[in-house]
């Protein structure tokens, strides 16, 4: 097994073209799956025994939360690869993924908060999952802020990589401590968010949405990566030819 295909992929001109071709293959299935998932979640799935129709918010809350965590791992892994093996493309992935992940974290918080209002009566509850999500958002914002403050791209890439790795190591510690902190204070009626007893007709739209969101992220990532590649390749001739096409 030769590594040439890998090096070829990581070479900017090839990657640029491949990413361009891949985008619709991510995008259209994503659209389809999300539509199907929405239909399944909003129309087909039966109302929950306890939460009635309100539980349907799960179909946007849970995928957003999942994406925020999945993207953070992607960020950390690609940053680590970029740092250790000095692959520029990996750093580009980290740079492109961060804002998207932050948006999903925000969505998870917003939908979680909206969901909480009818369930717990308040717009915000320091539930373990919401609190962890909030801290994750802070971690994302830190990454983005750090990258924005450093002008030299190389230094920015590597600094953000260190930060992402430090963050990912801390993440389990944060999760655990927040969970522990939350169980201490047996609040009055804090029911855990998103734990209706799940039947299959409730589950499949959720999985569909999650896969749909993931493919969506793939499409967005490809597009942002192409922009990153262009910005990073300052004077290459391939760029001139490619863009003139």
């Amino acid at each position: 097994m030769s590594w040439t295909w890998f090096h070829k992929l990581a070479s900017p001109p090839h990657f640029y073209r491949i990413a361009g071709r891949l985008t619709p293959w991510f995008g259209w299935p994503a659209f389809l799956l999300i539509v199907i998932g929405l239909y399944g979640g909003l129309v087909l799935a039966p109302p929950d025994y306890q939460q009635g129709e309100g539980f349907r918010i799960l179909y946007v809350h849970a995928p957003s939360a999942w994406m925020s965590m999945f993207i953070y791992s992607t960020l950390a892994i690609s940053a680590g690869i970029g740092l250790i093996w000095r692959i520029k493309l990996a750093h580009a992935v980290a740079a492109a993924a961060a804002p998207v992940g932050a948006w999903f974290a925000f969505l998870a918080l917003a939908t979680g908060s909206i969901w909480g209002k009818p369930m717990w009566g308040t717009w915000w509850v320091w539930d373990a999952r919401l609190t962890s999500e909030l801290i994750l958002l802070f971690l994302y914002l830190g990454c983005i802020a750090l990258r924005a403050s450093i002008d030299e791209r190389d230094r920015a890439d590597r600094a953000c990589a260190v930060l992402a790795l430090v963050g990912v190591v801390n993440l389990p510690i944060i999760h655990y401590s927040v969970y522990w902190w939350n169980t201490l204070h047996q609040g009055s009626t804090i029911t855990k968010i998103g734990k209706p007893s799940i039947t299959f007709d409730m589950l499949w739209p959720l999985l569909t949405m999650i896969v749909g969101f993931t493919l969506y992220f793939g499409a967005i990532l490809m597009t942002r990566l192409r922009a990153e590649v262009i910005r990073r390749e300052r004077d290459a001739t391939w760029l001139r030819e490619e863009l003139a096409r």
Partner: protein, 218 residues
């Protein structure tokens, strides 16, 4: 390595304001709370653990900036990088010096401030231990942030933004431990966890700092 530790300490103690500022800040935040909430000691006692910990954290953050700035400015940092000495060990020495000149004073002052919040005397030991561990963790984590934001404009704000989320677990256990002590329970669990976190951060932080310093120095 010992030289670095001593050198830093001497420098720090020459500039009294560097040591005094965080301490005064600590005292001031602790004063803000009763002013904002209530002079009732019974009420203050309920939140004392959290207040002291938050104030301590923020005050310790203040001192972080100075950690590498001077070395960066006068070229000592470059020397250190070129010297061939393991950068991680040097960083550990600097972190230790930072804690001695920044965290330790906060720990020593904390009982006085705790009294003002109605904390009973038998909780003082736990308070000081927890803060000692906590500021140690903050010195270790903060060193990473300081190294990453070296020389950046508005670096100090960014530094706080980066370090605070990482410090939240320590805050959770530290504040909780003090609360437990105030209520007369044994705070062993949280203190042990704090200790474990300190060991972990002291082991990993120098590596991250070394990497960050090399990156920032380019």
């Amino acid at each position: 390595m010992g030289l670095v530790y001593h050198g830093d300490l001497i420098l720090a103690f020459r500039r009294w304001e560097q040591i005094a500022q965080p301490v005064v800040f600590f005292a001031m935040i602790t004063t803000l709370v009763p002013l904002a909430l209530s002079p009732e000691l019974a009420q203050l006692r309920q939140i004392a653990g959290g207040v002291l910990w938050i104030a301590g954290l923020l005050a310790a953050l203040l001192g972080l900036e100075f950690l590498y700035r001077a070395d960066y400015a006068d070229g000592t940092l470059e020397q250190m990088l070129l010297s061939g000495q393991p950068l991680a060990l040097l960083s550990l020495a600097k972190t230790a010096a930072h804690w001695t000149s920044s965290g330790l004073p906060l720990v020593l002052v904390s009982p006085l401030l705790a009294i003002s919040l109605g904390v009973p005397t038998d909780a003082m030991g736990v308070l000081m231990i927890s803060l000692a561990l906590g500021t140690g963790i903050l010195s270790a984590l903060g060193a990473i942030g300081a190294a990453l934001t070296l020389g950046l404009r508005r670096g100090s704000v960014l530094l706080s933004l980066l370090v605070l989320p990482l410090a939240m677990p320590a805050l959770i256990f530290g504040a909780r431990g003090v609360d437990m002590a105030i209520h007369g329970d044994s705070a062993r669990g949280p203190l042990l966890l704090l200790g474990a976190m300190l060991v972990l951060s002291l082991t990993l932080s120098p590596l991250a700092v070394a990497a960050s310093l090399r990156i920032s120095q380019e």
